[in-house]
């Protein structure tokens, strides 16, 4: 009678399982999929097992021999190095001892974590630009914008949040028009007015840019502060230019879930505002 190598292996495995069962040792888990934990230093290792509850499972990395333990699948292994490829094996332990390690998992490389993510963009010819349903998953927000008017008169742009039109805003501005520098501000206003002469992008040949940072925007215990860096240059003349720094305050402890930028007149189609989230 002949016996194949596969059958030999199967019989050997059965002997090991029988030996484990007789000794009270847990069976070796079956390795599942290892996936990047998204933090740059963690991987989640899944496995399956026929063992009963009450066991502790350990995942072992290669290279590094870093371990993570859990009583259920998956196991998180921490302390890994982003950019390095790892495989993992899992064993099971109880009071009687520890099973052999499983086969190796797939290879997984923790990616370098990012802390700056694009969330949404509003653009085109309009008088209002609104970001709504802003997730609370970031520490800070940044709006980067490029605006250009298409009307013949100066107007302005104002910023409100959560559709609040009450007198709950304040701001201060330091600005220069190319000739002199000055500062002003206002409190208990119905919006944050980020621009001297407004952000005056309504003239057709004005090219304005913005960077607005909003820190701790999802806090439910603090008022919200804004940092505004903006400027504009005209194409055909150097008058009406502005470079400006600003601070803003919204007196509310509500998390910011929407932001609206309102222009006094319709902006050109090239106008675009992009919202980014920064993780803390």
């Amino acid at each position: 009678m002949s016996i194949t190598r596969a059958k030999q292996s199967s019989l050997k495995t059965g002997v090991v399982k029988y030996d484990n069962l007789r000794a009270g040792l847990p069976f070796t888990p079956t390795i599942g999929t290892a996936t990047d934990g998204g933090t740059g230093s963690t991987v989640s290792v899944a496995f399956t097992t026929n063992n009963t509850a009450g066991l502790t499972y350990t995942a072992l990395s290669s290279p590094g021999s870093l371990t993570g333990t859990s009583t259920t699948s998956p196991i998180t292994v921490s302390g890994l190095t982003s950019g390095t490829a790892y495989t993992f094996q899992v064993n099971a332990a109880n009071s009687a001892g520890t099973s052999p390690y499983s086969a190796a998992s797939n290879s997984v490389t923790p990616a370098t974590p990012t802390s700056f993510e694009s969330i949404a963009t509003v653009s085109g010819s309009s008088t209002t630009y609104t970001f709504s349903s802003i997730p609370s998953t970031y520490k800070s927000l940044q709006i980067r914008g490029l605006s250009r008017g298409d009307a013949g008169a100066n107007g302005g742009m104002q910023l409100t949040v959560n559709s609040d039109t009450g007198a709950n805003y304040g701001y201060h501005r330091l600005y220069g028009n190319g000739v002199s520098a000055a500062s002003d501000g206002s409190s208990s206003t119905t919006n944050i007015d980020p621009g001297y002469s407004a952000l005056g992008t309504d003239l057709a040949d004005v090219y304005a840019v913005w960077i607005i940072d909003i820190h701790d925007y999802a806090s439910t215990t603090k008022n919200k502060t804004f940092r505004i860096f903006t400027g504009k240059n005209r194409n055909t003349t150097n008058s009406d230019n502005i470079i400006q720094l600003g601070s803003g305050l919204w007196r509310s402890t509500s998390a910011i879930t929407s932001i609206t930028i309102t222009a006094a007149t319709t902006q050109a189609s090239s106008t675009s505002f992009a919202l980014y989230g920064i993780k803390g």
């Binding site: 694009s118 802003i134 997730p135 600005y175 190319g178 860096f229 400027g231 992009a274």
Partner: protein, 167 residues
């Protein structure tokens, strides 16, 4: 709202010896905005348009800028137009460190190009902080940026170009 990772480093230059310029070329149009962060050491004392940059090798009179400057004693503002570069008018002191960031908005778009600049330098007993807005009158996509400074850049000066992509 979909979120996507962005703010990616595109290129970094760290000088091994003094150089008249630092240039980023063959810039991909794959992003929405660009940001350059440059940290340098002053090679000597200087005043005036001590830091400047050109786009796409264009040295025509196609640039303008408006700036706001504080020197610890007063705040001033100045502007230039029809210049051959976008400049930052400030002071430099021998061996002092400074940092510059330049944001280029919609750099691959088909309208004129707008920039925000931040220059910060502290010389112990003196210092300057400058914030500027610049305009490059060209509808061409920005594919290269060349920085220059009075007194040259020195060994160890470093500049990094980042790309930022909107959703």
């Amino acid at each position: 709202m979909a979120a996507g990772a962005t703010y990616e480093p595109i290129a970094t230059t760290t000088l091994g010896s003094a150089a008249a310029s630092i240039t980023f070329s063959s810039i991909s149009a794959a992003y929405t905005d660009l940001r350059v962060v440059l940290v340098g050491k002053c090679a000597g004392n200087a005043s005036g348009n001590t830091f400047e940059f050109n786009i796409n090798g264009d040295t025509g009179s196609n640039y303008s800028r408006t700036q706001l400057k504080g020197d610890g004693a007063s705040a001033t503002s100045a502007r230039t137009t029809s210049q051959t570069s976008i400049s930052i008018n400030t002071d430099k002191k021998l061996n002092s460190m400074y940092m510059v960031t330049v944001d280029a908005f919609s750099y691959a778009g088909s309208t004129n190009k707008t920039f925000l600049m931040e220059w910060s330098g502290d010389f112990n007993t003196e210092g300057n902080v400058v914030r500027s807005v610049g305009l490059y009158r060209s509808a061409s996509a920005v594919t290269s940026i060349a920085f220059a400074t009075i007194g040259n850049f020195v060994s160890g000066d470093t500049a990094t170009l980042y790309g930022i992509l909107k959703a």
